[in-house]
């Protein structure tokens, strides 16, 4: 049971990372996320990232933890 839960968490984590990387690089997904209707967003996540609506709800807390990383300092190379 625990092993199954771990495997499931791992899959969700992988999808979360895939979502972030695609949103960084894919203009198509990024545009839908920026300007799409909710139904278009849900469809894009299913088609392009393989995330179901249920899975989106499950990854949201982890996504929020990444968004709140306050430790990344704004160093600049010539600052």
């Amino acid at each position: 049971m625990a092993a199954k839960a771990t495997q499931s968490s791992r899959e969700h984590w992988d999808k979360l990372i895939r979502l972030i990387e695609l949103a960084k690089k894919s203009r198509k997904l990024s545009n839908t996320m920026r300007h799409g209707k909710p139904s278009e967003v849900v469809a894009a996540l299913r088609e392009q990232v393989g995330l179901s609506g249920e899975e989106v709800a499950m990854i949201l807390d982890d996504l929020e933890l990444i968004a709140d990383r306050g430790s990344v300092r704004w160093w600049s190379p010539l600052g």
Binding site: V72, R73, L78, G79
Partner: protein, 327 residues
């Protein structure tokens, strides 16, 4: 991140310490009050306390540490010539930092800062003259880079007075101008070591990282810039500030809404990553592992900023969708 990593060669460490010692000698020869000012950290780094300036190790590595970041390329120079150029370059760059502070009105004693600028600038050029004869083609680069520096500072003054002057081309010219005094040191090292062919690559790499650096500053500090009424290229791309001649008063929330709507921070961070990649590409054929590691470190840091920014926007978009489907 941010500290100079000296090459493993003990000679590099010895020469680095010697340049710091020469800086102390320079300070000792100044009139007393200017000498005191030159030994304070806040004179160059803007820290509010009376902490002593620990020398060039206290500065961002790119400012005066480039002779060591490109060590493998220039270690063939003998001690005397390497040191004279590194000292001259460091003083010349310190002078440019003071000039920035005077122009930005950040210098706490602008009159004294002007005098110290003059002393640093004069002694810096004196060192470069001692290292390179008048017939050296270095001096043509020196003139060109000094003109770029002046043009960049002048463009910045114009943009602060009239926001509509801040266009992409102006922004790039400003960033290139700021890095020009640093390129002077590397031009001197390239000419003195008989490798003029490396300069265009090094100069391009530095100019690209200068643009990336300014973008990172502007994206990270946009709220403080609004509060200080400081015009940046990033802000002129945000609707409340777009196409206006003067900076509108504090529109932090309107700017945040505009940045969120269009993910402007994400777009600018992607542009920053492109400039950092160009910086690495320009220097890839050179013997400069320290420099490449430094730029790569900033590429990774910028990618981390991008991850955080994208995650923040995704949460903002997805949270209401999930809440809507659950109700």
């Amino acid at each position: 991140m941010g500290a100079l990593k000296l090459p493993a060669d003990p000679r590099a460490t010895r020469l680095f310490a010697e340049v710091d010692s020469r800086y102390q000698t320079f300070c000792g020869r100044l009139p007393e009050s200017l000498g005191r000012m030159a030994r304070l950290r806040r004179t160059y780094l803007g820290s509010p306390s009376d902490e002593p300036f620990k020398g060039i190790a206290d500065l961002n590595p790119v400012l005066a540490g480039t002779p060591w970041m490109f060590w493998e390329q220039f270690e063939r120079l003998d001690d005397a010539q390497f040191l004279t150029i590194a000292e001259g370059g460091a003083l010349f760059v310190l002078a440019s930092i003071l000039l920035d502070h005077i122009i930005d009105r950040q210098a706490d004693q602008p009159e004294a800062a002007t005098l110290l600028h003059q002393a640093l600038h004069t002694r810096g050029i004196e060192c470069l003259r001692a290292a390179l004869p008048a017939s050296s083609s270095f001096w043509a680069h020196f003139e060109r880079l000094s003109a770029d520096h002046l043009a960049g500072l002048s463009a910045e003054l114009d943009a602060q007075a009239d926001t509509s002057c801040m266009r992409e081309g102006t922004f790039i010219r400003m960033a290139h101008g700021k890095v020009s005094p640093i390129v002077v040191t590397l031009a001197a090292l390239a000419e003195a070591s008989g490798q003029p062919e490396v300069l265009p690559h090094i100069e391009a790499s530095l100019k690209h990282i200068a643009v990336a650096s300014q973008l990172l500053d502007d994206i990270g500090d946009w709220q403080q810039d609004i509060e200080a009424g400081h015009v940046t290229y990033f802000l002129t791309e945000v609707p409340p500030y777009r196409n206006s001649q003067a900076m509108p008063a504090h529109e932090v929330e309107a700017a945040r809404t505009a940045i969120d709507a269009d993910w402007l921070d994400v777009d600018f961070l992607n542009v920053t990553l492109d400039w950092l990649k160009k910086s690495v590409e320009a220097a890839r054929g050179l013997a400069c592992p320290g420099w490449l590691e430094y730029v790569e470190g900033y590429r990774q840091l910028t990618d981390e900023h991008l991850t955080v920014a994208v995650a923040r926007h995704l949460v903002r978009v997805l949270r209401p969708i999930v809440a809507g489907s659950a109700s």
